[in-house]
């Protein structure tokens, strides 16, 4: 099982990255065009190509998530997690949220994941340390989660979402972010920054050797 997932992962990841970079310029071009106040109509649906890419990303995301669920080795989990995060990032791109996608790649793949690996390295005697879980717990968790998933999917599928699919992309997302952060979302932004500071100090304090 895990072997096959590994192969899928190895096949899919570079493909996904390539595709993402293939689509990126289009966006960039848009941004350029938007500057000249005459937008280019782009329909919401990217057609077959978009579909294929979505399925690829979804597949990689879910496959890696599943692999995380199954694997017992913490290092492998971290690797699979990287796959997940990357695939999610690509999905952001497909969702026309390039900035978020980039942030995702940088912060998660770059920061958090490394942090995790370090945590692994520092804490476990052997990086391959395994902690067995009782089968009963597994079954219980499986059942509960299956139910949860089932219900959520039921809701998700059956709900009528107020959609405006004929949406028009206007302007660059970066400017919108800038204005947004400094106008509407200034207070949360500041709070986050303070929080980050506090976290940095706290983490340093906690992790230090006395």
């Amino acid at each position: 099982m895990t072997l096959r997932l590994k192969k899928i992962l190895l096949l899919m990841t570079p493909l996904a990255i390539a595709l993402s970079f293939a689509t990126a310029p289009v966006q960039a071009a848009d941004t350029d065009l938007s500057l000249s106040d005459q937008g280019i109509q782009t329909s919401a649906d990217g057609g077959l190509l978009e579909a294929l890419m979505f399925y690829a990303c979804a597949g990689v995301t879910l496959a890696c998530g599943f692999a995380i669920c199954l694997s017992k080795n913490i290092v492998r989990m971290a690797v699979y997690l990287f796959g997940t995060l990357a695939a999610v990032a690509l999905m952001y791109f497909l969702l026309l949220a390039n900035f978020i996608g980039v942030i995702q790649l940088i912060v998660y793949a770059g920061g958090t994941l490394i942090l995790l690996i370090f945590g692994v390295m520092l804490t476990s005697k052997s990086p391959w340390a395994k902690f067995e879980v009782k089968r009963s717990e597994l079954i219980a968790a499986g059942i509960v989660c299956a139910l949860f998933a089932g219900m959520l999917l039921f809701v998700v599928v059956n709900a009528e979402w107020p959609l405006e699919t004929d949406a028009v992309v206007v302007g660059s997302s970066m400017t919108q972010f800038g204005t947004g952060l400094l106008t509407d979302y200034l207070v949360p932004f500041e709070a986050i920054s303070v929080l980050l500071l506090v976290v940095m100090i706290g983490a340093a304090y906690m992790a230090r050797q006395e």
Partner: protein, 104 residues
Amino acid sequence: MFEIGLTHYLVVATLLFVMGIFVMITKRNAIGILIGVEMVLNGANINLVAFNRYNGMSNIDGQIVSLFVIVLAAAEAALAVAICMNFYKNLNTVDVDHGDTLAG
């Protein structure tokens, strides 16, 4: 089928979310739990972004919120790893099941 809509993303997000929960429940390694948390957050993020996208992109509130989420996730990760190291220092393990000294 090839008309990818909101629902597709929501399904993926849901599954990822649930998988995260599953990982949180079934992994005794603190780092493992952290990984589960990350998955959950990612699932949530997918939702935010997807709703944003399919609400006509008139504004990007969803993306901003998801940005905040990512940041918080990073902070949380940093803090969590620090906690893990403390945990390891005190109990000489990262098995969260040994962290039940507060249980009555």
